[in-house]
Amino acid sequence: MPKFALPGLLVAVFIAAPLLSTHSFVHHLLIMVLFSTLLGLSWNLLGGFAGQVSFGHSAFLGVGAYTTLLFYLKLGLSPWLGLVAGGALAMVVAVPIGLICFRLRGPYFSLATLAVAEIIRLVALNWEELTAGPQGLIITHLPALSLFGQTVNWESKLPFYYLIALLALLGMGLTHLVARSRLGAYLLAVREDLESAEAVGIDTVLTRVLALALSAMLVGLAGGFYGLYFRYIDPDAVFSVALSVEMVFIAVVGGIATTAGPIVGAIVLVSISETFRSQFQSGHLIFYGLFMMLVIRYLPDGIWGRVRLALKQVRER
């Protein structure tokens, strides 16, 4: 297979997918799948490749969302620049957090990330001059923007779809690059055996901080997108533990340390949540929990990880 066939196909599918239907609910579902994919990809960079289970990734999502909206509402900066700024700021915030939390290992690291995210949520709730506290931030309209000579219609879902598709592709590209790079190899070494990794001269703290920063950048971008798409954010929504757990779910169910796994995880997540949300509220969370347990028990490599293994066995036969 030529080298660019698979990515090319993926791009084509991403471009064509929303054109199959004019229904805006279908577009919304596609947007949610790609948004979840981006979250899963980002968590996977750190949790999958480096084996550092974070329960606090919503901290970076919140930082991205608040940066994007505040830059627009308070400084009048274009939301598109704000989105990039959100990703960048999430990355910057990740460095000190990483330097602190990576002094801890395994479950201790997980607990520390949970605490950090809760501290940030409390600050966002109480720093009312900046964040408007529990009231949250609302965008009433987005600035006009023209692309290829046409004004973008923000009431339609399509522009948002293509934006998140672009971000998801960025995330997959980054994951692919990391997986094949020296950094990826270092991360695997850290995951498998921290002491040995250190013994062969890998700066394990730097490696993990780098992975966290890249991961935070992706979640920060996703956060900016969240703010613009839903046009409303508040601390309990964007800094919630539930969101962090969703990210874990997507990556674990899809397949840890894979590039395509998060898409599978995202499809499972969105299907579950859309099927059950209308029937009984928060019913989808029952199935999140159940699925997570079943996957860890029976498919520890995740759904995509298992499929990939099966494909490999077929090819070798």
Partner: protein, 288 residues
């Protein structure tokens, strides 16, 4: 001065109950090396147990402890035997994620069954004025405190005086050596998980008359629990008790002297500081 004494007393009372929850978490960690993310849900189940036996059978919540503590012990053993046993050899992170899934499952099943309404238990003696030495003390909280002391004392007697208790401590120290000495480690694991769950359930029953109860209350409790066991050193029972009382004091003094809004934040900051500078806990007895 009176305000100081008042918050000191209420800090110690709530802290002791926190401590009891944390002891459950810490003995499970000590023996099995897993952090049970669903521990808060076990407390929630205890609370709802007390609520239902009170509202349906008019059973006094403190009396219903005799019913719910054994029930939760059995429930814990079942959970271990049928859900957890196969997961634990897969490593710490797997069981962390697995119990996180279990916690979502239990909390949201409860939400489905019992809705998210806030409930409370109004005891006839709940509003009695009790002001020893001019400090006002809530009667249900005082009873809960006394019972928590009794249960914790009984637990430590069980661990130090009985064969099963010694076997549990031996397994916590070194599972391989314990197995070589003829201890059935699998059975000990199951009993320990049952004990941890029973402690969580019992603290839920004791807390029920003093707190509002709703299905997702476990979320807040488990986070507090993490703070406590890290303060005291994971795996250490005296550490968990000291950590619980400490957190109770920090919260009640902090909300009076610093700010109510950041009350929970103080606990987290303390938690991070301890994790960073004394990863074995304040008393250096935990396992890092």
């Amino acid at each position: 001065m009176e305000m100081f004494l008042q918050s000191l007393v209420s800090g110690v009372l709530t802290g002791t109950l926190y401590a009891m929850i944390a002891v459950g978490l810490t003995i499970v960690f000590g023996v099995m090396r897993i952090i049970n993310m669903a521990h808060g849900e076990m407390v929630m189940l205890g609370m709802f147990g007390a609520y239902w036996s009170y509202s349906l059978l008019h059973l006094d919540p403190f009396l219903s402890l005799l019913l719910w503590m054994p029930a939760m012990f059995a429930f814990g053993m079942v959970v271990y035997r049928f859900l957890l046993r196969k997961i634990i050899p897969g490593g710490e992170l797997n069981s962390l994620l697995y119990t996180a899934g279990l916690s979502l499952l239990i909390a949201n099943l409860a939400l489905l069954l019992w809705t998210g309404d806030y409930r409370n238990i109004n005891l006839s003696y709940g509003m009695l004025p009790a002001r020893p030495f001019g400090i006002s003390v809530s009667v249900p909280l005082a009873i809960a405190f006394a019972l928590a002391m009794v249960i914790t004392t009984l637990l430590s007697l069980f661990l130090s005086r009985t064969d099963t208790g010694r076997a549990i401590r031996a397994t916590a120290q070194n599972p391989e050596a314990a197995a070589l000495m003829g201890i059935e480690v699998g059975r000990i694991d199951m009993i320990t998980f049952g004990l941890g769950t029973a402690l969580a359930g019992a603290s839920g029953v004791l807390l029920a008359p003093s707190l509002y109860l709703y299905p997702t209350v476990g979320e807040i409790l488990i986070v507090k629990c993490f703070v406590i066991v890290v303060l005291g050193g994971l795996g250490s029972i005296p550490g968990a008790i000291a950590g619980g009382v400490l957190l109770g004091l920090v919260e009640s003094l902090g909300s009076v002297y610093i700010s109510v809004a950041y009350k929970d934040g103080i606990g987290f900051v303390l938690f991070l500081l301890v994790l960073l500078f004394r990863p074995k806990g304040l008393f250096g007895v935990g396992r890092s």
